[in-house]
């Protein structure tokens, strides 16, 4: 490792540790490298600008953020929830099951765990607390189930992975389908176990439960919202639309339904929705742009090759390599933001994957799931902060209950590592040659 790169790393972690925004820490670390290595500082803007302009998949990010925001603000989320309660609300631990199942359906439209927590998650959690669940438990299941969002297609983290790895975004999306169902199943089994052990009564007393006479009305009201995942996925896999186009179609459809069917969107609201979506889209965009220049530095310092050689000297089997990589990402997940893991750390492992013949779609889905678990693990678990921030449930209360749900998520991770076919089966049906 050259002195220039060591200095650059020092600047990155030094600035990060004393509270500099991640994007700027990466840009400044790159400037430090270029200065010491005697390279042109104009490269900073060149890499950022060309990086954004040459990767059209990047456009899926603001568009998916927009569609999730429209759904949350336009009450599509509420109608969906009512539908889920109708199906699952009567069971023991019913609302907890609804929380998980609702996340699965919602994840078929949004690609972000934070959108899930802030939208359907928050509504569901308040309902659970009102029915008598402890706030810590309600918050924990909300956080855990939100991780399904970026695993079931569409998925913003998978778009980011595709940007750094060149793996097909369409096949990555498909690869997430079985893992998402596994997560849903494992989480619901955990709830059933907790409910049986604590001898909970069914949630029947809850006034949110739908009576039989209301079933047709609730179904009709939820129907346009339920159609959205069908349009989205049908569009992508029918070969009709690219994932980016599908994101725009989803946002457009959600806008139409919210405006004309539910009549929940006004012009003022629309302005706020567009502003806030653009704002989030810019925050993510700046980090991606910064990652382009930083990754340029990492590559020009020959670091991925170095790590690849190091790993090949260990003589690992692909399975033990996967286990090692997953342990590293889990530990990172406790301390580092998901975007850093996705955009900066993953590229370091890709040459080794290629050298060992590990499929990049399989690697991507597994590591994205791993990083999503990282969103829920203290001390640095962004979902814990977001939910605590918007609901007022103390951070420590959520942390105390989250462990119960991290275990089933880890179990899914292990199953996927051992059985790659669970990830690759669906992509292969659609013609993936991996």
């Amino acid at each position: 490792m050259s002195f220039a790169f060591a200095l650059s790393l020092g600047v990155l972690f030094g600035l990060g540790a004393v509270g500099a925004p991640i994007a700027y820490a990466m840009i400044i670390a790159s400037i430090a490298y270029l200065l010491v290595a005697g390279q042109d500082l104009g490269l900073v803007v060149e890499q950022m600008a060309q990086g954004v302009l040459n990767n059209f998949i990047i456009l899926a990010i603001p568009l998916f953020i927009l569609s999730a925001r429209i759904m949350n603000e336009g009450a599509l989320t509420d109608r969906l929830l009512k539908f889920c309660i109708m199906i699952l609300g009567r069971f023991r631990g019913g609302l907890a099951h609804v929380n998980v199942f609702g996340s699965l359906i919602f994840s078929g439209m949004s690609g972000s765990a934070i959108a899930d927590v802030a939208g359907i998650g928050r509504v569901m959690m308040n309902m659970m607390i009102k029915t008598g669940y402890s706030p810590g438990f309600a918050a924990a299941i909300t956080v855990a189930s939100a991780t399904i969002g970026p695993i079931f297609p569409p998925s913003i983290p998978m778009v980011q992975y595709s940007l750094v790895s060149d793996a097909s975004i369409g096949y990555l999306f498909l690869g997430g389908i079985i893992p998402a169902f596994l997560m849903t199943g494992f989480l619901m089994l955990t709830i059933a176990y907790v409910a049986a052990k604590k001898k909970w009564r069914p949630d029947r007393a809850n006034d949110e439960i739908v009576t039989i006479r209301e079933i047709p009305r609730v179904t009709i009201q939820a129907f346009p919202a339920l159609l959205l995942p069908v349009i989205l996925l049908g569009g992508i896999y029918g070969g009709v639309a690219t994932p980016t186009e599908a994101a725009a179609i989803a946002a457009f459809y959600a806008l139409l339904v919210a405006t004309f069917f539910y009549r929940t969107i006004s012009v003022q609201k629309l302005y706020v929705i567009f502003f806030e979506s653009a704002h989030s889209g810019a925050l993510v965009g700046l980090i991606i742009a910064a990652a382009y220049i930083f990754n340029f530095v990492v590559t020009s310092a020959n670091i991925p090759q170095l790590i690849s050689t190091l790993i090949s000297n260990l003589n690992l089997t692909p399975l033990s390599f996967m286990l090692l990589a997953n342990v590293i990402f889990l530990v990172l997940g406790c301390f580092v933001d998901a975007t850093i893991s996705l955009l900066v750390v993953i590229p370091l492992f890709l040459p080794s994957c290629r050298a060992m013949g590990i499929d990049l779609v399989y690697f991507g889905v597994v590591i994205v799931l791993n990083i999503m678990i990282g969103l829920t693990t203290p001390p640095y678990g962004i979902l814990l902060y977001v939910l605590s921030g918007i609901t007022g449930v103390p951070f420590s209360k959520i942390v105390r209950e989250i462990w119960v749900f991290i275990i089933p998520l880890l179990a899914v991770l292990v199953v996927l590592i051992i059985f790659p076919d669970l990830v690759l089966w669906v992509p292969r049906i659609f013609g993936y040659k991996g």
């Binding site: 540790a17 820490a25 500082l41």
Partner: protein, 174 residues
């Protein structure tokens, strides 16, 4: 962004800020409706347009750096906060001064090379839309000075004034 004495100055600033917000909203709407148009022309009319994707990407580039330059507050950025939230407010203020100064100096240092690169790009045009790349990249010539100026004002506040001025970070993240 400085602390204005006059009411009118404050009003002008607020008006400018609101217009910057309007531009931000228009940028995302442009991406959104360009895409809707693209989908409509390709699948309904059967006459795909060549310029839509390129146009949306350019607008997104502008959106990212327009927001980052004018509208995103420091506290809204994504940052590591483990050590930062653990220390006393006084230490935090020192941290802010250090990071702020380093960011301002480094970005200012990169500015001449950036101007060189952007003006040099006048020789190239985008593929489908035939827009000169120096125009497309000119957003960086606006973005960089603004981040430097805002950073400078913030450092000034931290050193001599209240605890952070208009970009003061909130205690909790996010």
């Amino acid at each position: 962004m400085s602390q204005p004495k006059g009411e009118t100055f404050m009003k002008v600033l607020r008006w400018l800020h609101d217009r910057a917000k309007d531009v931000g909203v228009v940028l995302l709407m442009a991406i959104f409706f360009t895409f809707v148009l693209q989908v409509f022309m390709r699948y309904v009319v059967g006459h795909p347009l060549g310029w839509t994707l390129e146009m949306s990407l350019m607008v997104y580039l502008w959106l990212v750096f327009w927001f980052s330059g004018f509208l995103v507050k420091d506290k809204e950025q994504i940052y590591f906060d483990m050590l930062y939230v653990a220390v006393k407010p006084k230490t935090r203020q020192i941290f802010d001064i250090i990071t702020g100064t380093i960011i301002v100096i480094a970005l200012a240092l990169s500015y001449p090379a950036t101007v060189d690169y952007v003006t040099f790009m006048k020789i190239e045009k985008t593929g489908a839309t035939q827009i000169r790349l120096d125009y497309v990249f000119s957003i960086f010539l606006i973005f960089l000075p603004f981040v430097v100026i805002r950073g400078g004002i913030r450092i000034f506040h931290l050193l001599f004034g209240d605890s952070g001025g208009p970009d003061k970070r909130e205690e909790t993240n996010p």
